[in-house]
Subunit: 160 residues, 2 copies
DNA sequence: GCACTGAGGTTGAGAGCTCAACAACAGGTA
DNA sequence: TACCTGTTGTTGAGCTCTCAACCTCAGTGC
């Protein structure tokens, strides 16, 4: 790292386009979910993860891994979702340090109500603008980035 | 919107990979900049935009457009950067509503000091994991997403 | 049993973002 | 001049995120 490996002209263009695109997509989704369902994207992702888990509950650490969230963020989020009555906490019987988060009926209802609008927004801002080939490429590129990122910190991309 | 246009199995995979990848990239960069330069990515982008402008200053509205930021966010950010002595505000002589933000010498120094580490991180988390073809594809895909997003709200992707 | 190290979670403070409300001014029309 | 509408930018409140400190407990070695 003695000499900075600057970006070429074309790499800079790609980088800036990438930044703009991801920012637009992220903010569109955030606005849509906040407007229609009164919650940020991160909370929605938590609820979805729980809704797909067997028994609709997960250990906090697993939930953090699924949602690529830090333990701290998740803890704050679950506290907030619990206030709303969408999630409850349960301590783990076999490991007294541990805790489960589980989705309530109300929470499941919120997910079901939010899903159509959310999916529609995803289509509108992302898929509708891309060709079939580009969608495939985007999948491969994303996977490559994830793989690359995982090399940096083996088996633990999060926290401290 | 009478019937939700659900995502296919493969689209879901792409969508999840995309979310994970963009989250990892964004958080890596945020952590790196915060750790090494004591500021979030959004602030760095503001300073870079100013550093590249003629006279190293821009109208607030132009700066908001360049950085894809809301007026509100920008206003808060500039206030913070002004406290640090990296930016100064100047009112516009021809339009009394308007304001210019301009980069100070200190601010320019901060950008110069931050750039190498930032660029290196961009390479590490993004470009190093992709083939030459994939970089090209990512550029095209990003441009397509930006174009698609601009269709939604012609010539103004921000605020209110 | 006792100490030590690490893992699982929580907490509080500080910081940035969003949203809505607002103030000040520009440009046009009557 | 007076009014009306749209633009530019700021502000404050509420919310989420990050970071570091902390607590509790599990597993290991002695």
């Amino acid at each position: 790292m003695t000499e900075p490996r600057w970006l070429s002209e074309s790499e800079q263009e790609v980088w800036r386009a990438y930044q703009t695109a991801t920012k637009l997509v992220g903010e569109s989704l955030d606005r849509q979910l906040q407007r229609d369902s009164g919650m940020p994207t991160t909370y929605y992702e938590i609820l979805v993860a729980l809704s797909e888990a067997t028994g609709r509950e997960l250990r906090m650490s697993e939930l953090a891994e699924f949602t690529k969230s830090s333990r701290s963020r998740l803890s704050h989020a679950i506290a907030r979702l619990e206030e709303n009555g969408w999630v409850t906490r349960r301590s783990c019987p076999t490991d007294k340090r541990g805790a489960f988060a589980s989705l309530t009926e109300d929470g499941m209802g919120v997910v079901r109500a939010a899903a159509p609008g959310h999916v529609n927004e995803v289509r509108t801002v992302l898929f509708d603008g891309l060709s079939t080939d580009q969608v495939k490429q985007l999948g491969e590129i994303s996977a490559a980035i994830v793989a690359q990122a995982s090399k940096g910190c083996p088996s633990d991309p999060c926290d401290e």
